[in-house]
Each structure stands twice: as structure tokens, then as C-alpha cells.
């Protein structure tokens, strides 16, 4: 599996900033009454990928698929059960405390909700300056200058530094969150649903800002999002997760034009398109709820919901064997974990362009 991830990454970029290998996280749930074996939730299971410098990889999937957990593991905000993360050549999980501290300056995060991620009692200027103070990287006038510079960079008036978060709109607050993430000059930012809480018109402003920043400063993003429109617009590569596992990894345009995994196809079909001429029929889901991650289905975890499985008269291999990621019709840049991937990709017909 790592082998395939290698090929994939090689075709993407030579300058690898972040590499994730076999990342796994299990949460123990405690035991059932009278049972000796503990139960686990497999939040993340054997996830591997690479992100080139200055590029954006998006992790997508339904709620509970493990995409947020992956980002927390990479930042070492949660301990991983297994696997490793290599960031700028360093093994993140093995770093001693003081080196971790230095590393944290290079990796930042922007959260979904700009309302709850800012301290209401702190002026926004102080909030943006805080990382500099914590990492002892400036004080006095220099600090103020740096903060003012960042305010300008994200499109806010530096004079607003002394105001409090409640005086700003949602979009402005998200800009403050972005300024705070940028203040230490990071190489890598996790954007966890950065635009989900914002209105459409403001969302476009923030998306444009993230894109401009990447162009200017060569920042690498890991985007966590369920909004596939934003994902298509912002990312170079997309990784689709289902119940803790990677089911497809591909360059963005390939994924949207020719999704290989039946789950990716289902996700894309489910999204309403702002064009009344293209209304779709209701989705034909055999089973519409995601199975519980505590009791994963045997074999391919997607088989109970898979239209192809139903169509092919329920082949036993889907129930019995976990499919590995494999290249799609010989193209190493696109990998998908489906026993019938070539059939699946041929099966997908793109809706006519509007």
C-alpha cells in the first residue's frame, strides 16, 4: 500500500513536505458487561499519503469517517496507535519535547468555527500576537509591527487590532484565525472546515484569501472538508475516507471527472448542483446509514451501501476481503480500494456539462 502511495506522490511532486505512513488510531470504549475483551472504535486505519510543498491535499468524507482525527494525529494533538508522520524529514512522533515545540511553529491549524476559537476577552491584536509571545519571537514595537503586517496580509484594517472578537463578522473572524495561524510563518496549515460556518459570499472571500496566501508564501495545506465544491476549487489532490480508511486518492480533476471508487461516485452524485435543469433522481442507496465504526462490516466496509455490490449480485469477495488501494486503469496517480475498480470507473458516467 505504501508502495502505491509512493508512486502516487512521485508523480505529484518531488519536494515532499509531509508524509503519513500507516497511520492508525483506535479509541478504547471500555468493556461490555461480563466481557473480557475491550471494544474499540477504529477511527483511523492504516492511512498513508504524501503532500508536496506548496500543495493542497483535501481529506473528504462523511461525518465520522476519521478525517478530523487524521489531522489531529499529524499535529500530535492526539497520540497515534500506530504508524508514522514525517514532516520536513523529521519523525513527528519521536521528537523530544523541545524539538516538538520548534516543530509546532511550522505546523498550524485554522478551525471551523471562528466564534469559538477566539478568546472573547482578548483583543484580536493580542490573539494574533499570542503565538509570537508564547514562542518568544518578538515583543514591543516589533511585535505590533508584525501583527499589523499580518492584518494587512489577510485583508483587515490594522487599526482594528484593539477591538474584541464580538465586533467582527464571521468572515472577518475567520480572517483573524488565519492571521493567527500565519504569524509564525508556518510551512503547513491544517484547515479544518475553514469555510463551513460562513455565508456563501463571505466564503468566497476566505477561499480566495487561502489561495492567494498559498501562491505568495508556498504554504502547504491539509484541507478537511465535506464541501466538495470548495475542495475542487482549492486542492491539488483529494483523499476520500470511509470509516477510517482511505478509499480513493487522486489528483483533483481526475477525481471529479472520473471518480473510481463507488463511494466517491456516490458522494459526487449526492451533491446538489446550482442548476435547476440538472435535478437528479433520488439517490438509490441500498443502505443509507453509515455502519457503526465499532462493528465494521466484514470485507470491504462499504459493501452494505455499495450500488455496484448490489448490481453484481453480491459477490462474496466484497464481504470477505478488504480491498487494498490499487492503481485505476493503470494510472498510478489515481488509486482506489475496490475489488472491481476498473468496472466501477467504466460504470461512471459524468452528467452532461451545464
Amino acid at each position: 500500500m505504501i508502495d502505491i502511495a509512493d508512486k502516487h506522490a512521485a508523480s505529484v511532486a518531488d519536494d515532499i513536505l509531509l508524509e503519513v505512513r500507516g497511520l492508525t488510531k483506535r479509541f478504547e470504549l471500555g468493556r461490555e458487561w461480563f466481557s473480557r475483551t475491550p471494544r474499540y472504535i477504529h477511527a483511523v486505519d492504516d492511512v498513508s499519503f504524501r503532500v508536496g510543498r506548496g500543495r493542497t491535499l483535501s481529506l473528504v468524507g462523511e461525518s465520522g469517517c476519521g478525517k478530523t482525527t487524521v489531522s489531529r494525529l499529524i499535529l500530535r494533538l492526539l497520540p497515534a496507535t500506530a504508524g508514522e508522520v514525517i514532516f520536513e524529514g523529521k519523525p513527528v512522533f519521536e521528537l523530544p519535547r523541545h524539538e516538538l515545540r520548534a516543530l509546532r511553529q511550522r505546523m498550524q491549524i485554522v478551525f471551523q468555527d471562528p466564534y469559538s476559537s477566539l478568546n472573547p476577552r482578548m483583543t484580536v491584536g493580542a490573539a494574533v500576537a499570542e503565538p509570537l509571545v508564547v514562542h518568544r519571537q518578538g515583543r514591543g514595537r516589533k511585535l505590533r509591527e508584525r501583527v499589523a503586517q499580518l492584518f494587512e496580509l489577510v485583508g483587515l484594517d490594522p487599526d482594528a487590532m484593539n477591538r474584541y472578537p464580538h465586533e467582527f463578522s464571521g468572515g472577518q473572524r475567520q480572517r483573524i484565525g488565519i492571521a493567527r495561524a500565519l504569524v509564525l510563518n508556518p510551512a503547513f496549515i491544517v484547515c479544518d472546515e475553514p469555510t463551513s460556518a460562513l455565508d456563501v459570499s463571505v466564503r468566497a472571500q476566505v477561499i480566495n484569501l487561502l489561495q492567494d496566501l498559498q501562491r505568495r508564501q508556498k504554504i502547504t495545506y491539509l484541507m478537511i472538508s465535506h464541501d466538495l465544491g470548495t475542495v475542487r476549487h482549492l486542492s491539488h489532490d483529494v483523499a476520500v475516507m470511509y470509516l477510517g480508511r482511505l478509499v480513493e486518492l487522486a489528483p483533483t480533476e481526475t477525481l471529479f471527472k472520473r471518480p473510481a471508487h463507488p463511494y466517491t461516485q456516490m458522494l459526487l452524485k449526492a451533491i446538489p448542483v446550482p442548476n435547476p435543469a440538472r435535478r437528479h433522481e433520488s439517490l438509490n442507496l441500498t443502505e443509507d446509514e453509515i455502519p457503526s465504526p465499532i462493528q465494521l462490516p466484514t470485507g470491504c466496509p462499504f459493501h452494505p451501501r455499495c450500488p455496484l455490490y448490489a448490481q453484481k449480485d453480491k459477490p462474496a469477495v466484497c464481504r470477505e476481503q478488504m480491498p487494498a488501494l490499487q492503481p485505476v486503469s493503470g494510472n498510478a496517480a489515481q488509486v482506489a480500494a475496490c475489488h472491481f475498480v476498473d468496472e466501477s470507473v467504466a460504470h461512471f458516467t459524468e452528467p452532461p456539462a451545464s
Partner: protein, 350 residues
């Protein structure tokens, strides 16, 4: 009275040609220490029988308060329906007393909200809550109500309806809870369903399922839907007519097909072109600059002028919501110039 005359009365009734719901110049204000927030400030539109009307706009535009005003669910004080009429089958809901309102709420007009978890009572089973809702409006013996509930749950594609009835809300996923809410709303065969962001909290796959269900049940029951949403994808998927709101006012009214083909108000154009498209790659997103003004302090004249690329001297006077083309209304002085313009074309002052 025998049944026959009633039936003829229904057929000949002029009401059938009238819209099911007419909102006429509705003003809902909120009073606070900081002044009066004119959240809904002169809103007029119709919901025809059997059709879906989408009420669209960004947060703070007054779309939710408009929908809550219909069933008089505005907390008062601080809220107040200051003026306007809400005619439902000819009766003005704004003047009904509490008793009359109760028979309409959940009966002829049902409502579902964004967060199904907060609308269900955690200490009663799903079955109990549905049975209560049905028997409140229909005089049915318990076992008949139970059968109805089973049917209602099946109609929203919930598997094992008997087991669901014995379960408590926390045992269901978000998508299932929303379907229970829809089942509850539809159980009394409402003529109008008000759905306020019904799928915003759900995953796309479940959203597709819920929207499909709403459409299917609408066809079955012949009900009207007032869909309140900010998601233009959902609007395109569901709506016959669209009402676009900005800063407490209706800025554009049109059929969905015509609106998406070329909006006649700069704000609707901005909204449409700032949507990130899933169906095609884009280079740079068009963003509406600035942000929505505060309801205690709307700009004078046209309320969109502070963000509008076309803003001119004229816009200091308030533009009326005028019929620009048959059935298409826009509150913009320059709406004539927008006719026939493709939706992506950037606006500049000529």
C-alpha cells in the same frame, strides 16, 4: 350536513385558484436596548398550492424570522409582528387567537427545523411523540394512531418502524432524527410544510435522501413547501419559485429556472457567482465585498448599495420591487439592464 354539497362547494370555491399562502407587506421587528431591529421589513410573496417556494439569503437577511412569523413563533417580547397580513386559505394568521392558532400549527401547517435533535423530546420514545402529535389533531383511537405512525415512518424510508417507535431520540443518527421529524410533520397531512434549513446539518448523502423524500411526499400529498435555505444547490434541486431576501427585504422574486439562468438583481447575481461549483473547475471565485449591514442600522435607500458594483446616486432612494418581466420581480433601479445578461458576467457601471 351531507357530503355532496360540501364537495361541490369545494370545487367551485374561488379559493382554489388563489395561492395557499399570501404574505403581504410583513414587518417583524425586534426591540432591544440598542434600538429597533427591523429584521423583516416589508416582505411580500405567495406560496401557490402544490408548489415549492424557496426563501433564500445569507444569515441575518430575515428569512428565518419570516418563516417563524407565519406560525407566529416569534418570541414576544422582544419580537413583534408590527404590520402586514399572513393569509392562509384566506384567513389572516396574524390576527388569530391562541386557540385557533393551535389547530393550525402542526395541522394544516407543519414545520421542520435545522436541528432535529432539539425538536425531539429526549425522555419520550419516538413512537410516543409521533402518536401524541397525531392525536392532537386527529380524533383517533390509540391503535389506529399506532398504525398511522408505522405508515408515516415507512413513508420516510426508515427501516424497522416498530423498533424505531420503541427507541429514544439519542439512539438515532442525525439523518434518522430528521426523517422522524418529517414523518411527524407529514402525519397530519399538512397543506403547507415550512422547512427551515432542513438538511444543513446532514451529510450530503443523507441530504440527497431527505430531499428526495420531501419531493416524493409532496407529490403524494399535494402539499406546498416553503423551503428556507442558504444553499443554492438545494434551491435548484427543489424549488419552483425563489424569493431572494437581503437586509429584511425581498430583492428578487422569480421562477427557479429563470433565476438561475440570469438573475435580475445584483445581489442575487453576486450570490450565484460566489457559489463554489462542483460541476466545473473555476479560476477565481467572485466574492461580494463587505458584509451584511446590521438590522438596527440598515443603509438608507437601497440596502445593497454599500456592496453593489452598480451603486449610483439614484440608489439613495429606495427601489420598489417592480415587475421587470412577466412574473419576475426585482428591487433594483438598474434591473432593466440586467435582462438577458448571463449569470457569470461581471457587473460594471456603464
Amino acid at each position: 350536513m351531507s357530503e355532496a354539497p360540501q364537495a361541490t362547494a369545494e370545487i367551485t370555491s374561488p379559493e382554489l385558484n388563489q395561492p395557499l399562502l399570501e404574505i403581504v407587506d410583513l414587518h417583524t421587528y425586534f426591540h432591544s436596548e440598542r434600538g429597533v431591529a427591523r429584521v423583516v421589513d416589508g416582505v411580500t410573496f405567495d406560496v401557490p398550492r402544490g408548489k415549492t417556494v424557496a426563501l433564500v439569503g445569507e444569515s441575518g437577511c430575515g428569512k428565518s424570522v419570516t418563516s417563524l412569523s407565519i406560525l407566529r413563533l416569534i418570541p414576544s417580547p422582544p419580537g413583534e409582528i408590527v404590520s402586514g397580513a399572513i393569509r392562509f386559505e384566506g384567513r389572516d394568521l396574524a390576527t388569530l387567537d391562541a386557540e385557533e392558532l393551535r389547530t393550525i400549527r402542526g395541522g394544516d401547517i407543519a414545520m421542520i427545523f435545522q436541528e432535529p435533535a432539539t425538536s425531539l423530546n429526549p425522555v419520550f420514545t419516538i413512537g410516543d411523540q409521533l402518536i401524541e402529535a397525531i392525536r392532537l389533531h386527529r380524533d383517533l383511537p390509540l391503535h389506529e394512531a399506532q398504525t398511522e405512525v408505522k405508515q408515516a415512518l415507512t413513508a420516510v424510508s426508515l427501516n424497522e418502524p416498530e423498533r424505531r417507535m420503541r427507541q429514544y431520540p439519542h439512539e438515532l443518527s442525525g439523518g434518522m432524527k430528521q426523517r422522524v421529524m418529517i414523518a411527524m410533520a407529514l402525519a397530519c397531512r399538512p397543506k403547507l410544510l415550512i422547512a427551515d434549513e432542513p438538511t444543513t446539518a446532514l451529510d450530503v448523502t443523507i441530504q440527497a435522501r431527505v430531499l428526495g423524500l420531501l419531493r416524493h411526499n409532496q407529490a403524494e400529498l399535494g402539499m406546498s413547501i416553503l423551503l428556507v435555505t442558504h444553499d443554492l444547490g438545494v434551491v435548484a434541486e427543489m424549488a419552483d419559485d425563489v424569493v431572494v431576501m437581503y437586509a429584511g427585504k425581498v430583492v428578487e422574486r422569480s421562477t427557479a429556472v429563470e433565476l438561475f439562468a440570469g438573475p435580475l438583481h445584483p445581489y442575487s447575481r453576486g450570490l450565484l457567482s460566489s457559489v463554489v461549483r462542483i460541476d466545473r473547475p473555476q479560476r477565481r471565485l467572485h466574492a461580494i465585498e463587505g458584509h451584511v449591514p446590521s438590522p438596527t442600522n440598515w443603509p438608507e435607500g437601497c440596502r445593497f448599495k454599500t456592496r453593489c458594483p452598480l451603486a449610483a446616486e439614484k440608489c439613495n432612494a429606495e427601489p420598489p420591487l417592480a415587475e421587470i418581466q412577466p412574473g419576475r420581480f426585482s428591487a433594483c433601479w438598474f434591473a432593466d439592464q440586467l435582462v438577458g445578461l448571463p449569470p457569470d458576467e461581471e457587473l460594471t457601471r456603464s
